[in-house]
Symmetry: C2
Subunit: 297 residues, 2 copies
Amino acid sequence: MEIFIHEVGLRDGLQMESEPVPTITKLQWTETLVEAGIDIIQLGSFVNPKIMPQMADTDELFQEIKPKKNGKTKFSGLILNEKGFERALKADVDLICMGVSASETHSKKNTGMSVSEALERIVNIAKEAIKLGKDIQVSVQSAFGCGYEGEIPEERVFQICERYFSEGINKVSLADTSGYAFPQKVERMYSRLQKMNPDAEFACHFHNTYGLGMVNTYVAMQNGVKYIETAFGGLGGCPFTKQPSGNVCTEDFVYMLQKMGLRNDINIGKIISVTKYACGFFVKDLPGYVYKIWREQ
Amino acid sequence: MEIFIHEVGLRDGLQMESEPVPTITKLQWTETLVEAGIDIIQLGSFVNPKIMPQMADTDELFQEIKPKKNGKTKFSGLILNEKGFERALKADVDLICMGVSASETHSKKNTGMSVSEALERIVNIAKEAIKLGKDIQVSVQSAFGCGYEGEIPEERVFQICERYFSEGINKVSLADTSGYAFPQKVERMYSRLQKMNPDAEFACHFHNTYGLGMVNTYVAMQNGVKYIETAFGGLGGCPFTKQPSGNVCTEDFVYMLQKMGLRNDINIGKIISVTKYACGFFVKDLPGYVYKIWREQ
């Protein structure tokens, strides 16, 4: 089984923290994650810095990391629209990530567009990126349910993916934005997608809202998902509530992989050192388990 | 799939809390768990109250709960030796639980006996219980690894179970005392045990030390395990460290079951009310996820 880690803590983790992390600190964390042997690191999103000041230095981060590239770790960035796409092209992002929500309400609130309008826009950007020879990953947000709408018809998710596939976009991530996924649904949806397009590569992105992030990730792996999006320390909880809706924790997931005989090339101690630094930085515990009991041997 | 919840919070949860819970409070929690529709509730262990004052009222709890039995929920108690067995008989325990550790070091520290000595003793008690028509469950502690010894040969666990089976003891629980289990091992061990004795009924007991409790429980279910031992709120962390080694959280597990269309007869809100009361009682958050965001609908 071939599994790749896509570390999203610097983007999905930090955008939820009210305290912005200085660029120099982000770079230290990134370099340590590179040393750990993480496959893909999402450095940030190309969004309006006035709306999301935590991501204001995304362009700079890509600039700074360039001389430190080792040819092994790739760096991804998230874009929401054409303006972000232009910035991502300038920043020479290795993997450009973009997506639409399967929920009309979520889509309207996030983009001001309906799902079908947003899909047209993203597909156009994706096609342009492919034409330029860029590596891209498209996602379906709220793929397993929506915090506003509740249940989302699975057919709607499949229709969005069908559109992606028909445009030759073959790297697709399902994001469980609200943490509503559960094992049977994960199995059902990925196995259906595999049948729809056996050539596609799938990613998963689970949140731990109801404590099911790890089991959902495991079931996704068992159903052919190769790219696992996680965040060091399980970062990602909303800063305004006690709701522990963080991402699946990178080092906890790597711990499980290594127990299963997979990815022994990854240095889990290095990931943990980033988590511990982040705990100190935010002056709080993070939701991960392994870092709390890890002793370097 | 038939799944039964064995709630161990009042025993495995409370024995780790330095603050003893008054009998009246334990009874309130128990009655609410009965109302929730929990299948088996472990009220405590029959141990020396000088060594474990948190369990000093186990006999009294069984006495108090007797008039409130509804014929649906069973009440279990843990025994370590003949003296505990006598007390359990007097208390009219529905399901008497006992076990041995697969780790020599753990066995010596816990019982002063080697694994084989402890096994003889437990088997003798179990046979006596069966003769008296009592329902019993035997366990193998440290079945997936040991905090002192590390790896435990799987053959040793199978030998202990083989001995149980050969004595006609068919209800067997594997306990991951130190939280070392991981999905492949869980699958391997339970599928082997099923083959050894297709008539046996299996239970699992996972701790969340490395964040894998829920995924291990899920994999156990997939491999025919019917009895799932969990604790409300995920109680069970050691009070002397920050190590979050609690049990799998009952309401989180029930939440997953219900998403899978199972056990919709259980009232999750009632379990959550016990967890919230316990958070207040101990003046701390517990590790569970679902109770933190639950809103009664």
